[in-house]
């Protein structure tokens, strides 16, 4: 799995972008998006997903169930 940003709720405040340890977040057409190939749910870096922790709008950075669960490298 990865996290995704609900575009309609994103205020484009950019707070999440520099917090991501995997540089998975970027700005696209005025809102911010997460690259599912880069997101690790912050596993191995921090206790909680940083984007969700810093985002001012609740339930905007959420788990994207359409992707398989992230597997930390052995």
């Amino acid at each position: 799995m990865t996290l995704k940003i609900i575009a309609s709720q994103c205020t484009s405040c950019s707070a999440c972008e520099p917090e991501c340890p995997n540089v998975a977040i970027s700005e696209k057409n005025g809102t911010f998006v997460i690259d599912p190939k880069k997101c690790t749910e912050c596993i191995g870096h921090f206790d909680e997903p940083q984007c969700a922790a810093v985002c001012p709008v609740d339930n905007t950075c959420v788990i994207d169930n359409s992707f398989p669960r992230y597997q930390p490298p052995a």
């Binding site: 205020t11 484009s12 405040c13 950019s14 707070a15 972008e17 520099p18 917090e19 921090f46 206790d47 909680e48 940083q50 922790a53 810093v54 001012p56 709008v57």
Partner: protein
Amino acid sequence: MDASVQHEQATIPDGDKLSSVMQTIAEHKGCGTSGGSGKASCGSGAGENDLPPEIWEKVKNHPCYSEEAHHHYARMHVAVAPACNIQCNYCNRKYDCANESRPGVVSEKLSPEQAAKKVLAVASTIPQMTVLGIAGPGDPLANPEKTFKTFELIARTAPDIKLCLSTNGLALPDHVDTIAGFNVDHVTITINMVDPEIGAKIYPWVFWKHKRYTGVEAAKLLTDRQLQGLEMLTERGILCKVNSVMIPGVNDKHLVEVNKAVKSRGAFLHNIMPLISSPEHGTVFGLTGQRGPTAQELKALQDECEGEMNMMRHCRQCRADAVGLLGEDRSAEFTTDKIMAMEVNYDIDSRKAYQEAVESERVAKVVARQEELASLAGQSSDIKLLVAVATKGSGLINEHFGHAKEFQVYELSTAGAKFVGHRRVDLYCQGGYGDEDSLETVIRAINDCHAVFVAKIGGCPKSDLQAAGIEPVDQFAHEFIEKSAIAWFKSYLDKVNSGEIQHVVRGDAEIRQGALTSAA
């Protein structure tokens, strides 16, 4: 105050000018006042001796510190730092940071390069523009790269522009040295509490060191970091102002304690602002129906704190990207498209020449006030009352009643005229005809005043004001505010003494909710 103090050079402060600034800044030492009459018993030049010259240099032309200076100089804010590291219950971050501007309005987000260009474009067009602030939306120190890049670009081309920033304080201790390095003129910290239990009612969470903290723990972290940051700045000689949002029933009584805490840590000015809250702002407080204070509640708290420390009363919680003097907003002339297309030629010398002319105007105004005040000498009366003034700046009564977006409020007594605040009314007159509903709004906003001074006023609003017990005064059109107010007060006292009129105390007034959005 000594009217005979003359000045060869406008740059040398004198007791008079200083005293008018003293109302909002600097020292109470030696003034022996308590309550709301700070200016009344300040002896001549008391502040000049109390105030270190380098601090005086920094604040005398500062529109954010001196209401008097705000008539002649302007500041602008740019929004380059939209990210924030805490959450406040009065904030909806789709809009601006409520710390320095009104909630419910959106500022244009700019890159540091765009912001620098905008500042230079504005400063070249409006020579009164002397202060640049970085404020919300967001926290400038949650975005240190963007904030400091903007400062760097501006300092390079326009070293005469003063830089300032306002912050919630969470990240402040980490950046104090960089702030000192950029020669930042002053820092504003928003401190709403020093008690984490109260803080938990204002801040749902803070984000610190990769973790979201909530409740009392979050508020404890925030207050510790704020006070630490304040101490670090004042130790380095950087001016610190503290903003507090007055939230009735949450921190209103507690702000007296906040006032003591920040004063003892060297803050030189405390600005208590009313909570602006309404459901359509979408803020937590807006949705829970938390009300803001009335004008009387706000003034009572400011008066209570004034014995402790200098209070600032002229903060208009302006739109962060507003450009211009007083209630004026020329931001429409400086949209990103327009500034990027502009050829900007920054001419430091012509700005200097302009500012020198402004200085001599200010001197003339002070002399006029002193002369009028001298004629009040000998009168004794306990009467204290408020009057509202419509002005576009320069210290003159020069605004049409129907065009005023705000009124300045002065407290008159035999001690003189003291600026105590301003009331926003936005536009009452849209395109030449009066609109009854908005006239009511104006009356509610200045309902605690005995008179309103204007450059001009139509017949209808005139009689409505009279019916509401507020005397419209247009005979001092285009004259100096304080001089005129004192002259009017003198004749008011004469009429009361001769029994022609009876002095009655007026009621409370309403603080206008919502955003100052009307473009000039």
